[in-house]
Amino acid sequence: MCLGIPGEVIEFLPDQSDLARVDVSGVRRVINVGLLADDPPKPGEWVLIHVGFALSKIDEDEAAAALSFLEGIGQAYEDELAALQDSRIE
């Protein structure tokens, strides 16, 4: 729950500008990007995701660093990723 998971923005959902499809470690899921309304990310940019919401924009290096950190955490990250995979907010 406290883990920030990096995801790459793929596209925004038609008619729902606060929802975006992101790629997280090869898994595509829809997340809410409404908290970045002041400076919305563009497709190809990276965000840090907390419980289904993008909380900050990050660069690709930071995304890679965050991901390898998470992979090092092991079970807690696997559980979080599994939960994200089951998440269907749209």
Binding site: C2, L3, H50, L55, S68, I89
Partner: protein, 375 residues
């Protein structure tokens, strides 16, 4: 791969450790608190304490939202889950937290409809597709997760949903830090500030720590080198007699935080007069409740909640661990009666709890060796 690779070659870590050691004044002890459970996890996983000179001690703080939920609130959540037609939804982290009569997992096994969700938006979707049910989201977390609960309530309002509510247990980090600063048990020299929480609140709210208490704060990232770098920055301030707020994690944390997130929290929630924290007791203005304007989404108003204060199990010393007065292994039940499989206290439940982090990585740190060899 940047930081982990850099850390793996360990040269930079050792170089930073040497710089930290060089800043230690002879005879002076330094106690630095890492507030955030994520930092505690990194410190144990990578054995960062072993890199530090003996004079520098890291004290683990109260920044694990699972760990600070008192047992009475867990019992309240159980009571809500047992109400007719209710579907209780919760983050996975809360599922094993023991209440007086077992955990969410135990209740689920007994047939109570409790579902694990990744996001409050998943709860909202469950509410949409189960119009005959009343869906409650067990909201927990510091300012990192509070915006998502806020945004979900705003969305529920926009959609006109009438069968979704929130059992709000959001807590705020600043009053907890203040309570620790005011506590006579512990004298701290500086703080490693939380990373993700600061993404939302920014760095300004910590200014009182420097101004009123004369202690430095460095907001830190989560990788091993981030934490060592932050300790170095704190030690630099201490050696120069400065007390300032610095941001080591500026690549993610904006100085002013996330204004949209703060607005969403302010729109839907307000401070409670007081809230009970496990181990820290009642702290004024330290938690959030749903605002009157959104009362239709407040489970505490829609249902009757017992609200009974329950004392922690006698053997459990989570309180002392959360305040940093005890190290995890100094607790009477650590690793014997209390393990991650059968936790007695919350610090053993969450992977970010100091006890679970320590138990999982089983580090025989310098301090522990010293403790163990004491006659």
């Amino acid at each position: 791969m940047r930081f982990v690779d850099e850390f793996r070659d360990a040269d930079k870590a050792h170089a930073l450790a040497a710089k930290i050691a060089a800043l230690c004044e002879p005879g002076r002890q330094y106690k630095l608190m890492e507030v955030c459970g994520g930092h505690t996890h990194t410190i144990y996983k990578h054995g960062l304490e072993d890199y530090l000179p003996e004079q520098v001690t890291l004290v683990h703080g109260p920044g694990c939202p699972v760990c600070v939920i008192p047992m009475g609130r867990m019992d309240d959540a159980m009571a809500l889950a047992a109400e007719p037609d209710v579907i209780m939804t919760s983050f996975g982290d809360m599922m094993r937290v023991p209440g007086s009569h077992g955990s969410f997992f135990d209740a689920k096994a007994r047939g109570t409809d409790i579902r694990m969700v990744y996001s409050p938006l998943d709860s909202l979707k469950i509410a949409r597709s189960n119009p005959g049910k009343r869906v409650i989201f067990m909201a927990i977390g510091f300012e990192t997760t509070a915006p998502s609960t806020a945004m979900t309530m705003l969305r529920a309002a926009a959609e006109g949903l009438t069968n979704f509510s929130v059992f709000c247990n959001h807590v705020t980090i600043i009053p907890a830090i203040k309570a620790i600063l005011d506590s006579p048990d512990l004298r701290l020299d500086g703080f490693i500030g939380p990373g993700h929480v600061s993404t939302v609140i920014g760095c300004r709210p910590y200014e009182f720590i420097a101004r009123d208490y004369g202690r430095p704060v460095v907001v830190a990232g989560f990788e091993p080198l981030d934490i060592l770098q932050s300790i170095y920055m704190l030690m630099q301030q201490l050696s120069e007699g400065r007390a300032e707020i610095e941001n080591q994690y500026a690549r993610v944390v904006p100085w002013d935080g996330n204004v949209v997130a703060l607005k969403a929290i302010g729109e839907t929630m307000e401070l409670r007069p007081y809230f009970e924290w496990r181990g820290l007791g009642f702290i004024s203005h330290s938690a959030l409740k749903v605002r009157d304007q959104y009362a239709q989404f407040d489970a505490e108003r829609l249902f009757s909640v017992p609200g009974v204060r329950v004392a922690d199990p006698k053997a459990c010393q989570c309180g002392e661990v959360l305040k940093g007065v005890l190290k995890p292994w100094e607790c009477k039940v650590f690793g014997t009666a209390c393990t991650p499989e059968t936790p007695i206290g919350t610090c053993m439940v969450s992977p970010e709890g100091a006890c679970a982090a320590y138990y999982n990585y089983g580090r025989l740190t310098r301090t522990r060796v010293k403790e163990a060899s004491r006659p």
